[in-house]
């Protein structure tokens, strides 16, 4: 009988060790630094921001930080040191979520909520991507399958998704062996999301990669691409149908529950934090190829946010999509969304000067200028663009209507 008892004891003991051992190993190594900073190997950070941001908030977002940047891959090129210097904030952490999904707004919100819960954040730079119109009223809390929601809630009971996870076990083994795939520039034979870097400040600053390949980078290719020509054809066709008055009028009736139920509530619940919401300078042709219905929703969304801004003292709302020197010039873009990192620097400077602010009072004027530009837009092609000499190019390439850069701004820009 004792033999059988020993048998049962050994069986279940070994099985329990076999099952919990890998999870304990993950807890110890913790490649995404969810529970603690890396102490076995030098800290490495994953470009997979959906996971890594949770680790950054838990293990690195301490009282030395007072600001965060929330947004998509468009916000990845913000230089956090430069942002802090220009804005006067103490220290800024970038918590972007790239590889956007249709649930990107909800994911931004969860990352932001988690960061705010630390109690250190006084300033938020929050990109309001046009895709925010995609959030349906019955999907306010939905996130994509890629997003590890369990790392962003308060419950520890669902952390088993992280601890009991084959991928994380494998990463932990690689981590402890010092074999995590480091960031590669060209010719990687592994997936982008598997790359790791030893400096989270530079994490996902994709512009660094583009600069390394200056002669044939994304900007160079895009300005010559068939895709852009297709945009041009579409835009020519769409311009005739674009009805500025209809868009302006109908946008007044747009309502996003996500903005009222989630964004505004979060702002109201954090009165000591200042939220700098901004519309990124996505190229004009991105908007120009949209149908009227889409533009009505987009302008309706922006209008709604402008109202939120006027209701809450802790909100400033900036629209950088009327900077036509930039948005009408394909030379600044490597595709239909992503702009040069100099543009990131530039809009931060404008924000610090409190330019481009939009409120309910000036919204119609802003929208009229924006839509009128789309109505007269011509996609321009440039044979060669020297992105390192961006600044002098700006003045030469003013296309369409737009606000003029003041002397003070120019001076600031040239610094």
């Amino acid at each position: 009988m004792d033999n059988r008892r020993s048998y049962i004891f050994v069986f279940f003991l070994l099985a329990a060790l076999g099952v919990t051992g890998p999870a304990l190993f993950v807890l110890l190594v913790d490649p995404y630094q969810i529970y603690h900073k890396s102490f076995i190997q030098p800290a490495m950070f994953s470009v997979n921001e959906r996971y890594q941001s949770a680790g950054l908030i838990n293990s690195y977002l301490d009282e030395s930080y007072d600001a965060i940047i929330i947004g998509s891959s468009l916000s990845e090129n913000f230089n956090t040191e430069q942002v802090s210097r220009v804005t006067g904030w103490k220290k800024t952490m970038r918590l972007t979520v790239n590889a956007s999904t249709s649930e990107m707004p909800q994911e931004h919100l969860l990352v932001l909520q988690k960061a705010l819960a630390t109690g250190h954040i006084k300033h938020v730079l929050w990109e309001i991507h046009p895709k925010y119109i995609w959030v349906k009223d019955d999907q306010l809390d939905q996130v994509s399958e890629k997003f590890p929601e369990y790392l962003y809630n308060e419950s520890v009971f669902d952390d088993y998704h992280y601890l009991f996870n084959d991928d994380v076990v494998k990463l932990s083994i690689k981590n402890i062996l010092g074999q995590l795939d480091t960031l590669c520039e060209n010719g990687c034979n592994y997936e982008w999301s598997h790359q790791w870097l030893d400096n989270f400040e530079a994490l996902n600053q994709w512009m660094l990669r583009e600069k390394l390949n200056e002669k044939n980078n994304g900007f160079h290719r895009f300005s010559r691409s068939a895709k852009l020509k297709a945009y041009d054809t579409k835009i020519r066709k769409n311009k005739a149908d674009l009805d500025v008055n209809e868009i302006l009028e109908k946008s007044r009736f747009y309502h996003s529950s996500f903005i009222t139920e989630r964004v505004e509530r979060l702002i109201a619940n954090n009165p000591d934090t200042h939220f700098n919401l901004y519309i990124p300078p996505i190229p004009s042709f991105f908007y120009a190829e949209k149908k009227n219905g889409n533009l009505i929703a987009t302008m309706g969304l922006y209008r709604q946010i402008a109202k939120v801004g006027s209701k809450h003292k802790n909100v400033s709302f900036y629209a950088f999509n009327n900077l036509f020197q930039i948005t009408n010039n394909v030379a600044f873009y490597k595709d239909e969304h992503h702009y040069h990192s100099d543009v990131n620097d530039y809009i931060v400077k404008r924000m610090s000067l409190d330019l481009d602010r939009v409120s309910p009072e000036n919204f119609d004027q802003y929208a009229l200028v924006f839509l009128s530009n789309l109505k007269t837009l011509e996609v321009q092609f440039f044979d060669k663009v020297d992105l390192n000499k961006l600044e002098p190019e700006i003045d030469k390439r003013v296309i369409g209507a737009g606000d003029n850069i003041t002397d003070a701004e120019k001076k600031d820009w040239q610094q």
Partner: protein
């Protein structure tokens, strides 16, 4: 509920075991039986509670028939009529749920009619519990078994280790075990064997079968669309599916036996290294043993068996195999698979007859090489026939089989050789080594489980297999794969 689900392993099985022994060890055998029936019905209803009514009505009907057939002093004619009514009612139920759509579709196809019938969802395990109950009423008619307690009858049909995909048990081999006092007391030796065999079965299913399925399924999907596939992929699909089915089904059979032993109940063996069969008859004595037994006892022998001459015997065998194919699924691929096996058995019968009568061979004697050749021929036939078993259409199966010996075979083999490694082929080689070199669970454990305790090395070995399986279930918890035989 699946044996390979975490809920089953961590919640359902422990609770049902603890409840059964807590109640049973205090002498409340009827309550313990009721507990086990309740657990089994919960287990069945987990899939779709709506079909609980169906299995309950089926049990009530067959129990009533069984009682009538075994109690009343009816005339032989009346008993025969009652039996015919009972059996045909069961077949009608099975026919409606399993074959009605198939029948109507083919009627419309061949007679150009326009009958419409909504898609009927096949209730889980209906083929198994219907056959088990047909066997019961026939045995009751013969006076070989009787049951006057409905609760016991329910346990016989629903006992969850064997409910979903067999083994198809006889009332007379199950219920005497539940009549013993010792069954209701925790038996450490039986439990030890139970967890060991269960762990091996779980490993076979979760780690081996589901893994190779990842290489097999895409090729069959492409074949159905008649997309060109390489010869290597065709071989991967052909061999891989046979191995997947082997480990899936033998894994299930092991788990069923293991769970049975945890309850102190020995279920009949359903699987005995079928790929080591020396001929197709031998294969059917080793693959799904209890189904073969059912067909032999309740179809082949009533048809006349081997008592009516060589030709009728071969015809009977062919009919049994044809119906066996149809039992596995309502589709022409299954029918064709049954026909292939029927023909193979007839050919084997003729060959054996020829060897005995014309060559005066002693069939009990064979050389090592002869046996090896027999095993190889049987294996190749079974594997090729399984392509029809797996494919959704005969065209899809033909598409794969046609690629097995294509003109590119040598260049593809050279490419595989020069690349040095092929994930799918190396897995297939590993699985084949297990199939052909390692003795099966029945030989290692089941035969010994009433005689001696397994050594500590088995505890270490089986707990590692258990941990590996749980690792896959817990750490790679994306999809839990159903057992293939659940579809039949």
């Amino acid at each position: 509920m699946l044996f390979n689900s975490l809920f089953f392993i961590f919640v359902f099985l422990p609770l049902s075991l603890v409840g059964f022994f807590l109640i049973g060890s205090r002498g409340h055998h009827r309550v313990a039986t009721a507990w086990l029936v309740a657990c089994s019905l919960f287990f069945y209803g987990w899939w779709n509670p709506a079909y609980l009514g169906l299995i309950l009505v089926s049990m009530l009907f067959n129990y009533a028939m069984g009682v009538q057939l075994s109690m009343r002093a009816f005339s032989l004619l009346k008993k025969k009529l009652l039996l015919a009514f009972a059996v045909s009612s069961n077949l009608a139920l099975l026919g409606y749920y399993k074959y009605a759509n198939f029948f109507v579709d083919n009627l419309n196809l061949f007679l150009d009619t326009g009958f419409t019938l909504e898609k009927i969802i096949l209730p889980l395990a209906i083929s198994f519990f219907t056959f088990q109950q047909i066997a019961y009423v026939v045995d009751a008619y013969k006076g070989e078994t009787r049951e006057y307690n409905f609760l016991h009858y329910c346990l016989f049909v629903t006992f969850f280790p064997q409910l979903i995909a067999g083994p198809i048990v006889h009332h007379r081999e199950m219920m005497p075990q539940f009549a013993k006092d010792e069954t209701y007391r925790f038996n450490a030796r039986s439990f030890v064997f139970g967890i060991t065999i269960f762990s091996i079965g779980l490993f076979k299913k979760v780690v081996l079968a589901d893994d190779i399925a990842g290489y097999v399924n895409p090729v069959f999907s492409l074949a159905e669309q008649l997309t060109p596939i390489s010869t290597v992929d065709a071989w991967v699909a052909t061999l891989g599916y046979s191995l997947q089915l082997y480990f899936d089904f033998s894994g299930y059979a092991d788990m069923a036996i293991g769970i049975g032993l945890m309850f102190g109940v020995l279920l009949p063996n359903n699987f005995n290294s079928p790929f080591l069969s020396i001929n197709i008859n031998d294969f059917w004595r080793r693959w799904h043993i209890t189904l073969g037994r059912f067909f032999r006892e309740y179809l082949y022998i009533p048809l006349g068996g081997s008592r009516k001459g060589f030709l009728v015997t071969q015809l009977n065998i062919f009919i049994v195999m044809l119906l066996s194919g149809l039992w596995h699924g309502a589709g022409w691929t299954f029918v064709f698979w049954g026909v292939l096996h029927g023909l193979a058995m007839v050919i084997n019968g003729v060959w054996r007859q020829f060897r005995v009568s014309a060559c005066r061979h002693d069939l009990t004697q064979s050389t090592f090489v002869g046996r090896l050749l027999s095993i190889l021929i049987t294996f190749v036939f079974v594997v090729l026939a399984f392509v029809y078993f797996r494919a959704e259409t005969i065209t899809g199966a033909n598409h794969i089989l046609a690629r097995l010996f294509s003109e590119t075979i040598w260049s593809e083999i050279q490419a595989v050789y020069s690349s040095g490694y092929n994930n799918a082929l190396s897995r297939i080689a590993f699985l084949m080594a297990i199939v052909f070199l390692i003795p099966n669970v029945a030989r290692i454990y089941v035969a010994k489980c009433r005689l001696s305790d397994p050594s500590m090395i088995h505890a270490i070995f089986s707990s590692l297999l258990f941990a590996c399986s749980l690792y896959v279930l817990l750490y790679k918890a994306n999809v839990i794969h159903e057992f293939l035989y659940f579809n039949f």
